[in-house]
């Protein structure tokens, strides 16, 4: 591993340690829940602060632990030589793979925490939603389709690279490159997402008040989004990594080679533009409150109204 990769790994692990430390004191847990409430558009119900803070802290710890283990496994793979170092013929960094391990670990941690969550028994009156829910209620289209489309891009890019290798246009076997491993991690993370999102949403939500149900929805939506982040990021990075690997290869100087070079540059530009537009759109539409607009439209409408009109 290069000093640069060690530095970046230490920074990643350092950020995880800080996140973990913030779950250890009750004051930081309480402020984290208040921040979460503002982000998801819900007030923290009186009498439930401690339970919500504990649940949110457990979720953060599970995600942090998963991300740490994912990162550590990739680093261990590099150190022991199980994962070959960066392609000598490519500038695509091993860092892609380390961050990939981070995201896949984060997704697995979030999945285990949510599927293992046992709600406290409800005494007295119970509440339930009268309509059925599905993934569309918890995940905005930009995230839902983004996860699948990004991974599809990665697989298509890798397939194209293999075709170029098979026809002799490039010398580097794409399957033996770091970029292929990133695309592979993207596919794995998409499988985790498709499996766990449905399992999470299939679980019953026993609650004693509508406010508790709204918070349960918010935490579910947050978990599902966190799990979807891995395929979105890895699919996109995998596609870029494959394209950048191809651009690093010596391409024959002839009309076909020129066309290929032009297509690769265009593909990188299109990919970056789509990613930028999707990111801006995502930020502008507040996907963390998508569940609120779908499942709690009156709360969302109240939130959208200017303060003076409330």
């Amino acid at each position: 591993m290069t000093p640069f990769l060690w530095t970046m790994t230490v920074l990643l692990v350092g950020s995880l340690v800080v996140l973990f430390a913030l779950t250890l004191t009750s004051s930081s847990r309480a402020s984290a829940v208040r921040r979460l409430g503002r982000s998801v558009g819900l007030a923290v119900p009186e009498g439930h602060e401690a339970a919500l803070a504990a649940r949110a802290a457990r979720k953060t710890r599970a995600s942090v632990l998963g991300a740490f283990l994912g990162t550590a496994l990739v680093v261990l793979g590099f150190v022991t030589g199980i994962i070959p170092a960066a392609d000598p013929e490519s500038n695509v960094s091993d860092l892609w793979l380390v961050i990939g391990g981070y995201f896949v670990g984060l997704a697995i941690g979030a999945m285990i925490n949510t599927l293992g969550y046992r709600p406290a028994p409800v005494e007295g009156e119970r509440f339930a939603r009268s309509g059925a829910v599905d993934l569309r209620d918890y995940l905005a289209p930009v995230d839902r389709y983004g996860a699948r489309v990004s991974v599809l891009f990665g697989v298509l890019a890798l397939g194209g690279a293999m075709l170029l290798f098979a026809t002799g246009y490039i010398q580097l076997n794409p399957l033996a490159s770091v970029s292929a491993a990133v695309v592979g991690l993207g596919v794995v993370s998409l499988a985790i997402f498709e499996f766990s999102a449905r399992r999470i949403l299939d679980r019953a939500q026993p609650v004693g008040s509508p406010a508790e149900l709204a918070w349960d929805d918010a935490l579910r939506a947050q978990n599902v989004r966190e799990i979807a982040t891995a395929p979105i990021s890895l699919g996109l990075w995998g596609s870029l990594a494959v394209l950048l690997t191809l651009l690093d290869q010596p391409i024959p100087i002839n009309p076909a080679g020129d066309l290929l070079f032009g297509l690769l540059i265009a593909a990188v530009a299109v990919l970056l533009t789509v990613a930028l537009i999707a990111t801006v759109y995502s930020i502008a539409t507040a996907p963390q409150q998508h569940y609120l607009r779908r499942l709690w439209p009156s709360v969302a409408a109240d939130l959208a109204r200017p303060m003076a009109a409330r």
Binding site: G124, R129, G131, P206, R293, A301
Partner: protein, 117 residues
């Protein structure tokens, strides 16, 4: 929202049945809306699956809901033939609006404008 009070003198089956009828009649549960599965609703409300299944069976017999195989149990359109067609069209419109990600206010404004025209 459905609620079951364990202290009520009314049996849970009846509490559930009455609430669902009220929501269908008031339009809170629109035609075509999918209901939760028997197992899930029973778990959420803390009652036996048979209780939910019985309520669903009676609601189906009374024409409030219908079972559509793999699509689960959905709310039936109510009223005369034209009212039923209108409710189904409204459901299709609502589904399309959700697909497009448009806001509730915009969707209501568009349909009001279309009705005026």
């Amino acid at each position: 929202m459905l609620t079951i009070s364990p202290k009520s003198a009314v049996p849970p089956f009846e509490q559930l049945r009455v609430q669902l009828i009220e929501q269908v009649q008031s339009g809170e549960l629109a035609a075509g809306t999918r209901l939760p599965t028997v197992r899930r609703l029973a778990e959420e409300l803390g009652i036996a699956p048979n209780t939910v299944a019985r309520a669903y069976r009676e609601l189906e017999a009374d024409g409030f809901i219908e079972t559509r195989g793999r699509n689960g149990t959905v709310v039936s359109p109510q009223g005369d033939a034209s009212a039923q067609q209108g409710q189904l069209a409204a459901r299709a419109y609502a589904d399309r609006i959700h697909q497009l990600g448009a806001s509730r206010d915009d969707a209501l404004a568009w349909v009001a404008a279309a009705l005026r025209g």
